[in-house]
C-alpha cells in the first residue's frame, strides 16, 4: 500500500484491520458460566429477604464489573452490549427477560413462595448464557456484513 492509498486499497486496509476485532476469538465457556451466575444471582436476589437481597445485588454487580475487567485484560478491547446497532437488540431482549424474572422474584417474595428465587435465578442463569451467545453471534454477523 502506498502512503496515500487509492479507494479500493483503503477499503481493503479497513477490512483487514477489522479482522483484529473480534478475530477468531473463542472465549471460554467458564466466562458464560460466571456471567450466568452473576445474572442469576441478580434475579434471584430480588426474591430474597432484605439483607440477603442487598448482598446478592452487591455480589452480582462486583462480579459483572470483574468480568468486564477480565475481558479487557485478556483481549485488550471492550464493546458494550448496547453499542452495535443490530446486536443491541439481543442485549435489550436479554434485559427485558431478566427484568421480567426479577418481577417474578418480587412477586414470589410477596406471595410467600420460598422456592421462587431458586426457579427465577436458574432461569436467569440460563437466559444470560443463551442471550450472551446470541448477542455475540449477531454482533459477529453484523461486523462481517457492514463496511461502514
Amino acid at each position: 500500500m502506498t502512503n496515500q492509498p487509492d479507494p479500493r486499497e483503503a477499503l481493503d486496509a479497513i477490512a483487514n484491520a477489522r479482522q483484529a476485532v473480534p478475530g477468531e476469538m473463542k472465549y471460554p465457556f467458564s466466562y458464560d458460566i460466571a456471567y450466568g451466575l452473576c445474572c442469576g444471582l441478580l434475579v434471584a436476589g430480588q426474591g430474597m429477604p432484605t439483607p440477603w437481597a442487598a448482598l446478592a445485588l452487591v455480589v452480582s454487580m462486583v462480579g459483572l464489573v470483574g468480568l468486564i475487567h477480565w475481558w479487557k485484560q485478556k483481549y485488550g478491547w471492550w464493546v458494550s452490549g448496547y453499542s452495535p446497532k443490530r446486536a443491541r437488540w439481543a442485549a435489550i431482549g436479554l434485559v427485558v427477560v431478566l427484568i421480567g424474572l426479577m418481577g417474578l422474584s418480587l412477586w414470589g417474595k410477596t406471595a410467600g413462595i420460598a422456592w421462587t428465587p431458586l426457579a427465577t435465578g436458574a432461569a436467569g442463569f440460563v437466559a444470560a448464557i443463551v442471550g450472551g451467545r446470541i448477542w455475540m453471534a449477531v454482533w459477529k454477523r453484523e461486523l462481517a456484513e457492514t463496511a461502514g
Binding site: A10, A13, V21, W77, V79, G148
Partner: protein
C-alpha cells in the same frame, strides 16, 4: 442512517485509517492491542494517535493496572462521524473507478 460521503485527509493516511477501522467497531481498545494489530512501533502509533487527537477524533484514557500505566483509546462522536463519512466517500470513489 447513511453517512454523507466526505473525504478526510487526516483519516486517509494508512495507519490512521486502520486505527479508525478498529476503533469504529468497539467502545475502546488498549494501545498495545492497536499497535500489534496494525504492526507499527510505539512511536509511529503515538504520532498517528496525536494527529487523530488533535483533530478531535480520538480520546485517550490512562488507567493503572497492576501498577502499570496503560492507555485506552476510543473514537469521539466526531471521530465516528468523520470515519463513517470517509468510508462512504471511499466506497463512492471505488464504485466510480
Amino acid at each position: 442512517m447513511t453517512a454523507v460521503p466526505v473525504f478526510d485527509p487526516v483519516i486517509h493516511a494508512p495507519g490512521r485509517l486502520q486505527i479508525c477501522a478498529i476503533l469504529s467497531r468497539i467502545d475502546e481498545a488498549e494501545f498495545a492491542m492497536i499497535r500489534d494489530s496494525i504492526k507499527v512501533s510505539d512511536s509511529v502509533l503515538s504520532k498517528h494517535l496525536k494527529q487523530l487527537e488533535e483533530a478531535g477524533y480520538l480520546k485517550p484514557r490512562k488507567a493503572a493496572v497492576d501498577g502499570r500505566q496503560r492507555t485506552w483509546l476510543s473514537l469521539t462522536p466526531a471521530g465516528r462521524k468523520a470515519f463513517a463519512a470517509h468510508v462512504a466517500e471511499l466506497t463512492r470513489l471505488a464504485g466510480m473507478a
